[in-house]
């Protein structure tokens, strides 16, 4: 475990509780509400995401995690609420500008650009390419140099994610897990301040999961803030510094991984009441069941998207 207890204790001011103040928050959200019809998909009073740490956002399916991601990154508009990133309010800022400010997200349903090569996918993630302007695009001399730098960075990242041999293949030819990796690598092309990963491990084969975890730890080592949604409690326990639990749109618990997983409110949220298991000690079958549920959901949605 790379984290010392003292490092973790420095994350918060006061005792762990939903909405607890962080010593150095990078995201602060207040009164964020989003309803679909009558459903309160997100109803967050106050939450802070600690800077430079790995925060896991957990909660049962339909808890509102993805919707909360969409709101924070400008992909959806809330009914109410305000939030800031890196000290500046970004409520109402369009998604592409949020990304340019250094808050990059990935999607639960992978969005690899199938008919572009893996390398082109990567290059698209880079910022400040003058050739993306229509007039300058016509004069290669104005963008070749930058393209070279971008390509080198892309090769670097692809090698780290073991996708370098696929660079010239269409993204469509990658497996589901490889697409997840590509999406994450692509998000890193812009060197973001904060990366938000929506179920990065879903569909990734177990052999790759371990290396993905190391990548995420590496990101933290470079000073990046990571917020990720995950169902696998072993993963959460292994890499998260802080855990935020959502259920029915609300933040129902916050705390250090070990604490949170033995918290009765959290167990109730996941398994209904009258369970007194530690989530981290769920049996293989229960873990598999939770995973299967997500997997099935992902597949259903992907089918819908393909159709």
């Amino acid at each position: 475990m790379p984290d010392t207890t003292t490092e973790r204790a420095a994350l918060i001011e006061g005792a762990p509780a939903p909405g607890v103040k962080k010593t150095d928050p990078i995201v602060v959200a207040d009164g964020v509400q989003r309803t679909f019809g009558g459903v309160h998909a997100v109803d967050v009073d106050h939450v802070e995401i600690p800077r430079g740490a790995i925060t896991a956002l957990i909660g049962p399916n339909g808890a509102g995690k993805t919707t909360f991601f969409n709101l924070l990154t400008g992909f959806d508009k809330p009914n109410h609420g305000s939030w800031s990133f890196d000290g500046k309010p970004i409520g109402g800022v369009p998604a592409y500008k949020v990304a340019r400010r250094g808050m990059i997200r990935t999607f639960q349903l992978t969005k690899a650009l199938s008919m572009l090569s893996v390398m082109e996918n990567m290059r698209l993630g880079a910022q400040e390419q003058p050739g993306e302007n229509i007039a300058r695009a016509l004069v290669p001399a104005l963008w070749r140099g930058r393209e070279q730098q971008i390509t080198e960075r892309a090769q670097d990242l692809l090698a780290r994610f073991k996708l370098d041999t696929k660079a010239d293949d269409f993204a469509a030819s990658l497996s589901g897990g490889q697409r997840k990796l590509l999406e994450m690598a692509r998000a890193l092309m812009s060197d973001p301040t904060m990366i938000m990963l929506d179920e990065p491990m879903a569909g990734v084969n177990p052999a790759l999961t371990q290396s993905l975890l190391h990548h995420i730890l590496d990101l933290k080592a470079t000073g990046m803030t990571v917020l990720f949604v995950e169902h696998d409690m072993h993963v959460v326990r292994e890499i998260a510094d802080w855990v935020i639990v959502m259920a029915e749109g609300r933040i129902v618990a916050e705390g250090y991984p070990d604490q949170v997983m033995s918290d009765q409110a959290v167990i109730d949220a996941y398994l209904g009441s009258h369970h007194d298991t530690d989530l981290g000690d769920l049996s293989e079958e229960q873990q598999a069941e939770l995973l299967d549920e997500t997997q099935a959901e992902v597949e259903r949605e992907e089918e819908r998207n393909d159709g």
Binding site: F75, A95, Y96, F107, E120, L124
Partner: protein, 323 residues
């Protein structure tokens, strides 16, 4: 039996009409094939552009280049008017709005009250004056067999083809650039592109403007050897253009050019064979039925292409629209 129609069909390869359709189809390929924008009103862009050219030439006495500029302004305004409210919405909104707008344009220019300006249903004649005035080719008759061209025909064919090829090279350069990468990314998944910090709305707008401008310029080429007829820019024209890009390859730059040539040759051959078939009673149809029947042939040809060559004649297999 008269087989001269074979040569006439060959003439379609270089006819201004083919050039115009190639250019308008290229515009549609930029929008639909590369960006994924469902513009079902390319004929409307063609009409707006054509009327801007003809009206400024005939009524305002604009010199050629200024009238071309008027065309670009008109198609750009149309793209902004149609794009601003729809490009942030789901893709189908653009389709509905463009198809309706194209019809509105056609009905408006045909309004009897506007006859002094637009010529009503008869359209506008004589917009070629400024272009023909620039013609350096000595008067005469050029060509061979039944393919005869006077100096003005030759002038528009030459200028038209050079222009179309230059534009195709330009579009190819754009599509190979980082700009084109963003455009193709939007076709695949615009949210992904947005999440990477690109202003998707602005790119879609640029694509709509560029494609619409090519449609407008196409009409200039189309009307110079003939005249501007409003009914040539109906919904049918948009579907011909879609046929052409699917035929040639919607995600290629030279596909629309090849598609336009093949389309007009096939149409012309079908016409010729049907004339013979009617004349010698090989088929139980009349001359009146001949017109629609050739479109049935085109429709069947299109189905065969979609089935056997889903990426078009020169498209790469992986980029097929109907994979």
């Amino acid at each position: 039996m008269d087989f001269s129609f074979l040569l006439l069909a060959l003439g379609q390869i270089i006819s201004p009409q083919t050039i115009a359709y190639a250019l308008a189809a290229l515009g549609l390929a930029v929008q639909f094939g590369f960006t994924g924008l469902l513009n079902f009103g390319q004929a409307g862009f063609m009409a707006i552009g054509g009327y801007a050219f003809a009206i400024t030439t005939l009524h305002l006495g604009f010199p050629f280049w200024l009238a071309v500029l008027a065309t670009l302004v008109a198609t750009t305004v149309m793209a902004l008017v149609l794009g601003i409210p729809t490009l942030r919405l789901r893709a189908d909104y653009l389709a509905i709005v463009t198809i309706a707008a194209a019809e509105i344009v056609r009905y408006v220019v045909k309004t009897p009250d506007l006859i002094p300006l637009t010529g009503g249903s008869d359209g506008l004649n004589g917009a070629a004056v400024t272009f023909d005035a620039l013609n350096p080719i000595p008067p005469g008759s050029y060509g061979f067999g039944p393919l005869r061209y006077d100096e003005n025909d030759l002038w528009i064919i030459l200028v038209g083809w050079i222009f179309v090829i230059l534009v195709a090279l330009l579009v190819r350069q754009l599509m190979k650039s980082p700009w084109g990468r963003v455009i193709k990314g939007i076709r695949e998944d615009e949210d992904a592109v947005r999440s990477l910090g690109k202003n998707v709305f602005s790119y879609k707008m640029q694509s709509l403007i560029l494609g619409g401008a090519l449609g407008g310029l196409a009409t200039i080429i189309n009307i110079i050897p003939t005249s501007l007829q409003p009914d040539n820019y109906g919904t049918q024209t948009t579907f011909f253009l879609l046929t052409i890009i699917l035929l040639g390859g919607a995600t290629t730059v030279f596909g629309p050019l090849v598609g336009a040539i093949v389309f007009w040759i096939v149409l012309s051959l079908a016409d010729g064979f049907l004339s013979l078939a009617v004349q010698y009673h090989w088929l139980p149809i009349t001359t009146i039925q001949q017109g629609p029947v050739r479109f049935i042939i085109v429709g069947v040809a299109l189905m065969l292409i979609v089935i056997f060559r889903p990426s078009g004649l020169i498209g790469k297999k992986r980029e097929a629209f109907f994979a």
